[in-house]
Symmetry: C2
Subunit: 374 residues, 2 copies
């Protein structure tokens, strides 16, 4: 008889937000790596780069000049993936399997800081609070615009993640539809609320109408019950960062408020916003410290769909504000995890357990390695 | 009034195999690219590399020596992602959101050819027929093994796709479960058969019992009706290669038999197998010729779940054999498409239309650029 050991025996974990599995094969980390290595992330950048189209006062594609901003700076993407309504009506499908659906919206760029050489991990707390405030503003502004149904805030950090400019910035794509992944999460959160009506942990926060919130229940369990088992990486007054049970990327993090049910950025109190900024600082510093590099990731904020109008569906309030961080690095600053063949064709697969990842992220110092006096 | 133009106006297309959308933003190809570029794919490789753990006669990790094979060569992966049954029973979930499911199986490596420096695009047709025969064998062998429910054949080609050895090879992961993506495709194919019972195109091939097959209907439409509209890249007696209406990757290809309903590799006639080998040669040559490089991709074969037993569900016969090719390159041999931030957090997005991609793949010569006498 052998006992099950999650760090030895391959197994599958269910992601309740997507309803899909991840294959965990922890012993695979033992295999030697002779494959592609990543070039070092850019270091020694100037504080101001005259060639950068995001630096204050510089000209962008199309010739528009950036304001001489000194905090955050928002502008519409010069190469937007969606265009404002109304668009022409799409054609009738020539066959039921070839359908075209309309989509409209707007794409914004959010520059986090005037300094070309900084990252969220290296700016002051006050600067992070300004980033949070800017996200709140843009969510409110785009979320009340006619025809917009979802405001997707995200950041591609690092060349490895397809980011073409190291100047600290993120994007906001506001669409006339709820995109696939948030739609799937919302559907699963609704089903969870229904299936657990009147149930759930008595101490966990509840959504409006006493409904069970999947993420509040989960965070409550991780913080309160399973803390020692160790998927929690960092926790402050209002927010918790953890490697979720169902993480796909090696050092994936889910960052969310755990004290009460919070559908969107607009529902945050001033203290919850500061606490959010603090947790952003802590998580991004830990990431950089893990392999002593400027850690690449994609980050996305999921929250309540819009419109922000009185007649909006109360069903949308099952949403609970959360951030996903999906970083590709696995072994070192230069060896990443590839989600390719099997993962693209069959099912995501990971090589170390979420518990092992969380333990390593907990173990790194909280001070940024570039600031540490040795 | 503006007419809808698919190569100008952003729109969404539904992938009927997954039930999910892709956002098409064709005008985005106009934006300048200052981001990461890929190193050149390895060229000038030796025909035999004494350091390669896949070359004939060489030693592998763990010390086992490869046979001095002269055609294809199959062995069990030394770092398998799943292990043979029986595994220990997974623990009871400490919370309903933290479930562990068992998974067992086997991981095989299929070496395509003894020559270290070749690729599927450069081997003789007879060699490709041997690869097809080897896939058939392994599907039959693993598919009759106790406890196996799916045999996932795939290839990661190129360092960009996480392949750590240029020696031509693919993998086969045989699992005790049907993995997420094939399961989703089968579910959608079943729903399609149900929803279209008694319907579909009268000339399209039908699945057993006269049932409608999503992929037979689709291929029939593309080959017969929509040929001029141009998503078909190549077609021979039995197989068609096309950039599907719902393609996510810039030059994604779906390769499938279109003359009759064929659930799995084991249902192919000898002529259909030769025709398959020919189409593999044609598609991989076109890929290399597109940017005059050894073109990276992930390839996966989807087909009928196993076990191959008399008591297997006839429902499984809705499956129609097909190959997905997902290549990352977008603009040149060194500029790829990144499916990152928005794509990872919200919805896949593509920058050129499938029709534009198909047109470019049709336009390249059929002879491999390295063999072309200039
Ligand atoms: O098995 P390999 O070739 O060592 O590894 C490659 O393929 C696997 C299956 O798609 C992936 O999980 C790995 O990330 C990738 O590097
Ligand atoms: O908009 P950017 O930064 O030019 O482009 C980057 O982010 C986009 C949104 O995730 C992706 O579609 C692109 O592939 C990526 O390179």
């Amino acid at each position: 008889h052998i006992d099950f050991d999650p760090s030895t025996h391959p197994h599958r974990r269910l992601n309740p937000l997507t309803g899909e599995y991840v294959l965990v094969s922890p012993h695979r980390t033992k295999r030697p790596w002779q494959g592609q290595t990543e070039p070092p992330q850019q270091a020694g950048l100037p504080a101001y780069d005259p060639q950068c189209y995001l630096c204050p006062g510089n000209a962008r594609a199309g010739g528009v000049r950036n304001a001489p901003y000194d905090a955050t700076f928002v502008f519409e993407n010069d190469y937007a993936a969606v265009l404002p309504p109304p668009g022409p009506a799409p054609p009738v499908a020539p066959h039921p399997l070839l359908t075209t659906s309309p989509v409209q919206g707007a794409c914004d760029v959010v520059v986090f800081h005037p300094r070309h050489d900084l990252t969220l991990s290296r700016v002051a707390l006050a600067d992070l609070e300004r980033v949070v405030a800017t996200w709140c503003d843009i969510y409110a502004r785009r979320g009340t615009q006619e025809g917009i149904e979802y405001v997707q805030i995200f950041e591609n950090k690092g060349a490895m993640m397809g980011c073409s400019n190291p100047h600290p910035h993120g994007q906001v794509w506001s669409l006339s539809v709820v995109p696939t992944l948030p739609a799937k999460e919302l559907e699963n959160m609704r089903s969870y609320a229904l299936a657990n009506a009147g149930g759930g942990s008595p101490d966990a926060p509840k959504a409006p109408g006493g409904r069970c919130c999947l993420l509040c229940e989960y965070a409550h369990f991780e913080v309160g019950v399973a803390h020692d088992e160790g998927r929690v990486v960092y926790k402050n007054e209002h927010w918790v960062a953890l490697v979720p049970w169902w993480a796909t990327w090696p050092f994936e993090i889910l960052l969310l408020p755990y004290k009460r049910h919070i559908p969107s950025l607009l529902d945050l109190s001033p203290e919850e916003k500061s606490s959010f900024a603090e947790s952003l600082s802590n998580v991004t510093k830990r990431y950089d410290n893990l392999f002593s590099c400027s850690f690449a990731y994609s980050m996305g904020i999921h929250q309540r769909p819009v419109p922000l109008r009185a007649d909006a569906s109360p069903d949308d309030d099952v949403a609970h504000l959360h951030l996903h961080f999906s970083p590709p690095l696995l072994r070192s600053a230069s060896v990443r995890k590839f989600l390719v063949g099997f993962e693209m064709m069959a099912e995501p697969q990971r090589d170390l357990t979420p518990e092992q990842a969380a333990q390593r992220l907990r173990a790194v110092p909280e001070e940024h390695y570039l600031d540490a006096s040795s």
